[in-house]
Symmetry: C2
Subunit: 134 residues, 2 copies
C-alpha cells in the first residue's frame, strides 16, 4: 500500500534559523517559506536527492503544531508522510484493520495540493503518519 516516503516533517521554534542551518551548515537545497493558513503552519521544504524534509512552524492562533512545540521547545521530528495511490482505498483498508484516522476521516488538501490523511500515532508505534495521494 505505502509507496515512497514523501517527506519527514520537523517542527521548529525558529523557521528562519532552521532554514539557514539546512542551507548553510548542512549544505542542502532550501525552498522559500510557504504560508499554509488552512493547516496553521508555515512550511519550508528542504530538497534532498530522494525525498524532502519539511520544516514546520506555527501560523495563526490554532496551529496543530503549537502543542508539540510547547512539549518540545527545541523542536523535533513531528511526522513522516508516505505516498499512496488511492487514499480512500488506503483509508478503508486501514480502518477495516482497526487503525484510527485523525479528524473527520475525510482527506484534506495538504501542502502539496494533494489529498492527505493522518493516522493515529498510538496505532503506529507512537509515530504520526501522514498519507498523501500522488
Amino acid at each position: 500500500m505505502i509507496g515512497r516516503l514523501n517527506h519527514v516533517a520537523i517542527a521548529v521554534p525558529d523557521l528562519e534559523a532552521a532554514a539557514a542551518q539546512y542551507r548553510d551548515t548542512l549544505g542542502a537545497v532550501v525552498r522559500a517559506p510557504q504560508e499554509e493558513p488552512d493547516h496553521g503552519v508555515t512550511v519550508v521544504f528542504i530538497e534532498l536527492p530522494n525525498t524532502k524534509v519539511e520544516l514546520l512552524h506555527p501560523l495563526g492562533d490554532n496551529s496543530p503544531i503549537q502543542g508539540f512545540l510547547d512539549k518540545n521547545p527545541s523542536g523535533g521530528i513531528h511526522h513522516m508522510c508516505f505516498e499512496v495511490e488511492d487514499i480512500l482505498a488506503a483509508r478503508d483498508t486501514l480502518k477495516a484493520q482497526g487503525a484510527r484516522i485523525l479528524g473527520t476521516g475525510e482527506p484534506k488538501i495538504g501542502a502539496h495540493g494533494k489529498p492527505v490523511l493522518f493516522l493515529h500515532p498510538k496505532d503506529f508505534n507512537g509515530c504520526l503518519i501522514e498519507l498523501e495521494q500522488v
Copy 2:
C-alpha cells in the same frame, strides 16, 4: 554536504508486531531482523521505493534506545540518517560551525557496515541526526 535521506529510524516496543504491521497492514517490503550487538539494537529494515524505515528494538542491557522507550513507551521516531560522501570532512565542517558530535567524535561502523556519526539534537531543532558515509 548532506545527500540522500538514507533512513528514518523508529524505536518500537514490540519488533515482531511492528514488522508485521508494516508488512501486512501497510503493505511494505520488510526484511528479516538483524542483531547489532555493537549498537545495542535489533534492526528491521522496511524497504520503500526511495528510502528505508529502520525499526529499532533494544538488544542487551545497555541499549542506547532503552531510555527513549522508557520515555516513549509506545515508541516513536528516533532519528533520521543523511548520507555524506566524506564523513570526516563533514564532521570537521560541522564542528567548525559549532555543532556537537555525540560520543568520542570518531565514526563508528553502523548497521549498514559504513562509518556513521550522530549529531547533538540540541544543535539541530531537537532532532537526532545520523550521518552515514556512502
